[in-house]
Symmetry: C2
Subunit: 361 residues, 2 copies
């Protein structure tokens, strides 16, 4: 599917990731974000670009974040605080700080809790966008832990049989360390496709396969075609017959464990009262609390290799494991640069000029 | 989808659930299960029948469990033990005890840990089948907790693009208390459909919609038709374009957090060495560790009502929430009885006669 969204070579400019990081950090600082937080925010965006998750990298997200700071929707100096705290859990009121900055701090807390009790879970609400959820889950990896991140977003997705959006794309990310294999990193929207990706698809003129979106009455569109001007987003599974109640149900779980559990209402209601507003969940499992870490990593290698060596079905050349393409992209993009649409590079140049930020791109 | 699998009235015999419980308990005792554990096992099966989850009730599962005890595959008196224990986590070697008996004990431990630390997670391996995963998750409800149960089964399901089964149907269940609304209870296989349900569908001569199964080469069958004699099971999403990598990835997560993390290998390898063998994960989140329980339940009611009052898409009369149909079934079946296929009632009678167990059915 994503293949059809790939940036055409003639539209692409390859940009060095360190230069891109520098400019991105400077832009965050310019809108009032302290230097440590600005570097962190840039790191989250850049990791998405480096891993090939363009939907959550600078092209799609940075403008939105900067506008948020400029209009006051996101606070550069939020007074975030822990509202409840137990040995293995905490809940944070993020005071409208940006999720890509707050979630890593929450994940650090979860990791500390996991060291002490075996498991740590931290929720946060009244928060901005979380970026690529896998970033936060992957923070667990160097600690020999399994990391989880879920994020509840404003309503864009239909419930099964429904004609009105009630849930966000509500992604689930899980990161698991291996030994010599790349880590297992799953990062999936609970909708058919993250809505972000439709923006890219539309920009690139991609043709969508059947079952990707519904019409404005809620009926799934079962013919292939370009991204419609107006559409509604379906839960993963597309149709009830094929399991759309699974995507719908998991989106509810993300909403409950991120937003409702923290006392932050729920997205469909919050949006009526005040637009925007995300809530997130991060967790860390200390592998040593369950079994031997060395054996675990060896078993993960065996497990991943068993999956990768599965005989492919006709028409396919290999079976992938979650995180494999992203690991391949990381090698490629840190060497040859991040491919940005030339319009995105133009945007960087003009925004830097406007905000009086030096731009090496 | 499930509608097409419903038992035809002319084949059904309505059986009182308490009589069915009594006979089921007696049969477990007859194969050596202690009386408390026999009553627990019967309770797990009966809750599936009462909630209308026939795939995991007595019809489909009891014969399998009894045979397991009779052949020595399942131990009636397992010496299960906690191999690692931390304040919020534990890992159990179940010594081939039946999952429907071990998992509730593990969930009790998780609940105790959640009371103390906010969160409890218990994994178990070298274990028998878990039954309806929702049973264990729902144990959290009276404690004002969110319950989770996941179960990793022997390989039956293809990875995306693969031609060989590598993962189980690996269900995920989540139960969340509400105030006046029925609790939110999600219980979904990470495959398109639990393989159990195909057995029922075949018995009932149901027609499967496109995308439900793959042929023996791994290619999804995209025409409607009866359950084939031979087929391979697809991950939820059916096709890569529609998100089958999500079902596949979540099945991996269930495998990792149930089997691999506990040091019990992984299903695809275990099966080659020794057939059978499940691993499970249960978790409890103490809602009070995150926010006010009373407000939480009120918000859950509001959330569920908002979902249920969503305008339906053309051709549908209502939007359901997870657990709603099962709550409706519970009211109906505890009043009018459990509908069993007449062949199942015959099986009970002959099995009871064989094992010298009184049978009131």
């Amino acid at each position: 599917m994503l293949e059809s969204f790939v940036l055409r070579e003639e539209d692409a400019v390859r940009v060095n990731h360190e230069e891109l990081r520098e400019v991105t950090t400077a832009l965050f600082q310019k809108v009032g974000v302290p230097s440590d937080d600005a570097a962190l925010a840039a790191d989250v965006l850049l990791m998405a670009d480096i891993r090939g998750v363009d939907s959550h990298g600078v092209s799609n997200m940075l403008r939105n974040y900067l506008t948020g700071y400029q209009t006051g929707r996101i606070k550069p100096l939020p007074e975030w605080r822990v509202v409840r705290d137990r040995p293995s859990t905490a809940n944070i009121d993020a005071d409208e700080g940006l999720g890509i900055i707050i979630a890593p701090k929450a994940m650090e807390m979860a990791i500390e809790k996991a060291k002490k009790t075996g498991m740590g879970v931290v929720t946060m609400g009244r928060c901005g966008h979380v970026g690529m959820a896998a970033y936060h889950a992957m923070m667990a990896l160097p600690h020999d832990m399994v990391g989880v991140c879920m994020s509840a977003a404003p309503p864009q997705v239909l419930p099964t049989f429904g004609a009105e959006p009630r849930l966000g794309t509500n992604p689930i990310a899980v990161a698991v360390p291996a030994l010599d294999e790349a880590p297992f990193v799953l990062d999936i929207a609970t909708s058919v496709v993250a809505v972000n990706k439709f923006r890219i698809a539309k920009r690139l003129g991609a043709i969508l396969p059947p079952g990707m979106v519904a019409d404005m009455e809620g009926t799934p569109i079962m013919e292939a075609g370009p991204v419609p001007d107006e559409f509604l987003s379906l839960p993963a599974g597309s149709l009830r017959e094929l399991g759309s109640h699974k995507g719908y149900g998991l989106a509810c779980v993300v909403e409950i464990l991120s937003t409702v559990i923290g006392g932050f209402g729920f997205a469909a209601r919050n949006t009526r009262e005040s637009p925007g507003g995300f809530a997130h969940y991060v967790a860390a499992y200390d592998i040593d609390a369950f079994s031997d870490v060395g054996e675990f990593k060896q078993t993960m290698d065996d497990f991943l290799r068993t999956l990768k060596s599965t005989k492919p079905a006709p028409g396919h050349d290999r079976v992938l494991v979650p995180g494999q393409l992203e690991a391949e992209n990381t090698v490629e993009r840190t060497t040859t640069g991040i491919p940005l649409h030339k319009e995105v590079v133009e945007w960087f140049r003009s925004t830097c000029a406007e905000l009086d930020v030096p731009c090496s791109l």
